[in-house]
Amino acid sequence: MPPKTTVLVAVPLPPSFLLPRSCLQSSKRAVQQTRSFGIKSLDSPRVNPYNNGPGLPGLLSTPKAAYERKIRSDTLPLRTGALAIKRGMTAIYDTESGERIPCTVLQLERNQVVHHKTMKEHGYYAVCVGAGTKHPKNINKPELGHFSVQGVGPKRYLQEFRVRDEQGLLAVGESIHATWFMEGQYVDTRSDCKGKGFQGVMKRWGFGGQPRSHGHSLSHRSAGGTGNGQGGGSRVYPGKKMAGNTGGQRNTVQNLKILQTDEEKGIVLVNGAVSGPKGCLVMIQDALKKPWPNVPPPPKPVEKNAELREAIGAKIGTSQNGL
């Protein structure tokens, strides 16, 4: 009996969804895998949910609108401030009128511009000023790298001063001296006031307390009632003034006159009191509620940056100098 010869008939394959995955992917597997770049979303573009567009008035609750309002109200200083240490209070005499003027002695300490905050990168303009000095071993590596790239030494204090536009961005590495402030100009000072610890309502909020006598016992300095009964919901409303931790928070004192400055010694003499204990950090900036002072323009940033680039041999002012 001769062997049966099987007859092969070409049959079209069934539709792909019936085929096993192994058959389907066999063709792809043959191709060498390469890394591809770019992400394409599977979702269709989203419809703009806001009522804005060409021909419509701009939205009010946006960062851009807020910035424009800020510019219009002219409440952003034109130039940066400086960091000082409060050294104490004294008084000076006006020799003409004989008036005795109480004043606070502030001392600037190694002020330098460390960094800029720009509208493009951060959404606002600010100058980051560093003061004092710190041993490199006490700073973590990212921060040390930041100082290294900016070309300034390690700083003990770092604070930002907002400015209106890029005209106010003093060059990175530029020192700020006491003569940055003109004698006779007005400044605002920001500092943390003295901490008072846990205090009762009389000291903290100025409550009257209760009488010393007339039947009062054991409650002469207490708060008294904290709210109404059933008519008011039988509860204490949020924000009720009560005893608690007092002081130690940031306080701004506005419109202080500069009486004297000394560039070499870093002394800034300010009329009146500044919040905080002796030795506290004080931020001084041009007063918001007075006309901006007429000061000479700061040195050109271009020259300074060129010097720095030569000095450190690194990129300064480029966008890639992140931490």
Binding site: P14, L18, Q112, S148, G153, I267
Partner: protein, 240 residues
Amino acid sequence: MAQALPFRSATCCCRRAVKFAWSLPAQKRSMLSLHAGPVERLDFPPQLPEQYWSQLPKRMRPDQVKREIKIHENPPSEWKTCKEPVKLIDQQQMAILDPTGARARLFDPKNPDGAKAGDIILATFKTGEPFSGVAMSIKWRGPHTSVLLRNQLTRVGTEMDIKVFSPLVQSMEVAQKAAKRPRRARLYFLRKPKHDMGSVQKIVDGYLRQRAILTGGSPGGAKRQQGGVRGGVRGGTRRR
């Protein structure tokens, strides 16, 4: 029979395919990706065009080189040039207000001939109105030194706190030293009627006469006080 053959072979092929699919291990058919050993790390293409660099983390970009941390020098310290700025301001004030240092010597607590509590002091002001009285207390505070004088003007007890170095004060003189060193620094008990010295005008007048004889001038160096003192020094006038 011959007609059914192509149909049978077609169904056979399909059945075989289905059978093959079912015979595969379960994990290969699953939609879940089970752990199948370590993932092979692929290298970047050797020449990645620059347009794709922005998609890489910064540290992986071809142009990134590891920069060493350099510690830069801080500018010179202002604090080291002046460690006590408040003291410096006070010294500057003293140099302006009392250039000769005479008044500072008079109100130096270490000076045995200086003014002490209990002395009768005569102060004259730039406005021309003198005031004299017993020094009830002297507060030594550098340029803010003040003296509290007590007198009786028209039988009314009057006190005046005078800033010694104020530019409004023309002169300060000790008219009479205390007979006995007081055993207190603050003689507030002089306010009590038992201890009140009353008016010191006679003593001051005697001092002025003696001074005029010695210097050869007229005793009108300091005008005689008439009634209360007006104007005076900023720093407080207190009357009783």
